[in-house]
Symmetry: T
Subunit: 67 residues, 12 copies
């Protein structure tokens, strides 16, 4: 049956956490084939002068290995 | 004083994490009376062809027991 | 080199999780100088009559100490 | 051989943590048959004007299923 | 989209851990419709006179809720 | 909506764990306004000559920030 | 400087959690010299017919080694 | 001295958990040289109609890097 | 009432995880009286040339102390 | 008996982890009286061009409160 | 904005933990471009005849991905 | 195949964390034969007048059992 790998990706966005998740998934899919899911491991924001500058997520990305 | 139960719900949405939380809370409230809170235990996305297909949350839902 | 402190903030919003993060960061910056980041420790919603009433986040806020 | 279920109960008392445990176990036993044990998952107090108002415990309650 | 519940089952077998998992899944399916997966949370053995008497597993069982 | 802070207090008593919780909450309320709850993070006893000398609790104390 | 060992003790009492802690510390001190502290790792109750039968604590007991 | 990498593999089998471990180790060894160990991070079963369909393990696989 | 100790055993087998558990329990029972249970803390395999060489388990073994 | 507070400090050094611990403890002692201990929560290094630029530690610092 | 990967490295040194961290970071930088940080996940020593033979660290190494 | 035990040692040094690890390993080897490794579970410093007085490590020490 199937075998997959899981790798950790850290992605940032100036817009929102969900944009960071989407960017991370898109970027991962450029080099990894068959990404099937991503689990949100951590969420963090960067702050400057009391304002949020970026949203960061760490994702555990699962992609299928071919035979 | 009061006694409550806590149960785990897994809910998915094609729109966003917050939509998944809302759907899970609404669905839980259809069968469980007096839901008072939900704690986000896990967040995950399903992916196909490099695009997010759905947002999934696992919720620990607390509801009050009546006497 | 630099020394920073990390403190836990709990913040609620009637709008969304990200609004709660932003409110917490803004409020923290009113009394703490040089806030540089915040890590999302917990997310929770309050519920009444099957509807979400507020979004709550617990943040670990890091701010630099001056010499 | 035997199969059991484990469910989370949150119980509060104005007296003590052990009273909260006892109330939670008693209440659980009213609707669940054959409760055999409870594991203390969390303990918390509610406070007002510097005084403890109630003691809260979250219990993982195990009860045997009949065949 | 879909909503599921997750519940904890403790199951024992005199034969092996996998037999305990199977018995737990079978028993859960008798009262819960649409069981889709089970995550092994804990494994334990009971011992008497230096010999294993039974194998116990605690399972987090996920089953789909119907609309 | 509201913003709160969470801070860790370690408190000891020669009498009991609950006395240690109470002393910690009372002491915290002398310098922190609007303490609303405390979560028991750790419990420990100090021992001498086989007898318990003191009960120690570590509390995560939540107090509301004013605007 | 000093070296100590840490060992896990499980102790039960029909009276209360603190009685179980005390019994565990006393019993440990009969065979281990120089017990200095014990950390409460777990608390659990045994139940029969809806009533608590015993209180169980698991303790991490620290005792000094002599040179 | 030596440097190794650790990577997460998810592997499924229709037979047993140990078959899933073996398949995962074999598959990993096809692309990674010098696999020396694997730590079982998670175990899960997929279920359909009350019957186990597959056994899934997540492995943290360690392999030596050459100079 | 009863007092028990809990100690960690690491056991390996060339056959299977369950054989490793059994060997560990048997070996523990040779020096420790009244072993009553063992909790599986970790599972790991040793690998050479892409083949599993041994199965290792770490067990938390509980045994009753006599008075 | 005594009441203490625990606060998180993040400290960096270009020299070593122990230098970072020492700097963090020294800096904390400038504003907090009666620091009695610090627990190492995290260790991390910053890297540039393959060389370590700084050592960072996160410390949970305990200091006694006066009456 | 930026996307990074996080990978686990295990590194050993006969000298010290910090030498092991440095060797791991150097080795990682030979095959991975743009390493920016490493988080110490585990520390362990190998022992023979009562003497430490090597220091081992497991590092979570973060490196930036190029577009 | 082989069976080992794992026991927790707490060791302090006035010099450094690595000296504390070495002292703990040496002391453990005086009473336990065949110590093969030690895993660093916790690191802590004791402080007086703003200066570090001692370095403390808690080690999980593994030693082989003979047949």
């Amino acid at each position: 049956m199937s075998v997959a790998r899981v790798t950790e990706i850290s992605s940032t966005s100036s817009v929102s956490f969900e944009d960071a998740v989407e960017k991370g998934v898109n970027r991962a899919s450029k080099t990894l084939r068959n990404v099937v899911s991503a689990w949100i491991k951590e969420q963090r924001v960067g702050v400057e002068n009391g304002q949020i500058q970026h949203y960061q997520v760490n994702l555990m990305v699962t992609f299928l290995l071919e035979d």
